[in-house]
Amino acid sequence: MKKLAISQALAALASARVLECDHASRGFHLSVAVAPLELPAAAKILDQQGFFIEAITGVDWLGEQAAPGPTVADQAEHQPPLPSEDSFEVVYDFNHFAKLCRVALRTRMPRSRPEIPTISAIYPGANWHERETHDFFGIIFSDHPDLSPLLLPEDADFHPLCKDYKP
């Protein structure tokens, strides 16, 4: 029920590619890829349908263009056209308190210009998750109220979870 409603609502977005997944083997029902600029719109739809935000995961796909090894196979089909350079991926996990429906909202941006809009105005809980993602990957969430380091020291200028990070 919930799954149908939300997948239809999200599919209405211009850049969205919605893929149904097998919950038993993957752990989520819907995998939705959107362009960075449509992220707030997608979050707003999820908010209106009563979803809560569970987590934000950054993934660094360094070296993907040179050797397409690490790319997750089934994503290739439903991704918006991949940027022609290595990219960061950010995955937003949403779930619903009343009806079980896990939505993984994905977006990609090139590693050289890692900037996407924030959703912390829609979900205040996303504030810390985004700060953490900024800590670890250096992804800039534009219009975020405060992107100072959350888990790293106040003066940290490194992003340890980038695959090319050297201490």
Binding site: P153, E154, P160, P167
Partner: protein
């Protein structure tokens, strides 16, 4: 480890010093300062079954200015290290430090090539008197560590030593 000796007074009153040390050894007040997992075992040592009060050491003080011994119970992150150093400096002399658990000894399981977040051992930032290994150490180990500290102060052991079977 040299701390306790480093701040001894220039003039010695041998018998009086012994008496003072006896007093100190029998009322070691630890600083309430939990960092991570080991702090839970430190709590467990303080209450019901293990009962540190038997040794006069159960008076956990929340303020560094009232305490004699600092038990570093957990991983020291780089962000926390200046704070720990400040706490150590705020404690009045004479003072002692116990490194509880592998993290406080040498970084424990969180040491790997390219680690960016932790200080590998409490002795990198301050002098340590007693090292208690374990991840986390059992409460019996902490009791034994405190008895060793007592021994270091008075030169003799108040309680019989238990031999491992």
């Amino acid at each position: 480890m040299v701390t306790a000796n480093a701040h001894l007074p220039i003039v010695h009153f041998s018998s009086l010093d012994k008496l003072l040390n006896l007093g100190r050894a029998n009322s070691l007040w630890p600083l309430t300062f939990g960092l991570a997992c080991c702090a839970i075992e430190m709590m467990a040592t303080g209450v019901a079954r293990f009962d540190l009060d038997r040794f006069g050491m159960g008076v956990f003080r929340p303020a560094p200015k009232q305490s004699d011994v600092m038990i570093v119970a957990g991983t020291i992150s780089k962000k926390m290290a200046p704070g720990i150093r400040t706490l150590y400096e705020q404690m009045p002399h004479p003072k002692w430090v116990i490194a509880l658990g592998n993290c406080a000894i040498a970084g424990g399981p969180f040491v790997f090539a390219g680690q960016y977040g932790i200080v590998e051992g409490a002795d990198k930032i301050m002098p340590v008197d007693i090292y208690i290994p374990g991840c986390p150490p059992r409460p019996e180990a902490l009791v034994e560590g405190l008895l060793l500290l007592e021994e270091k102060l008075t030169g003799s052991r108040r309680w019989p030593r238990v031999n491992p079977e």
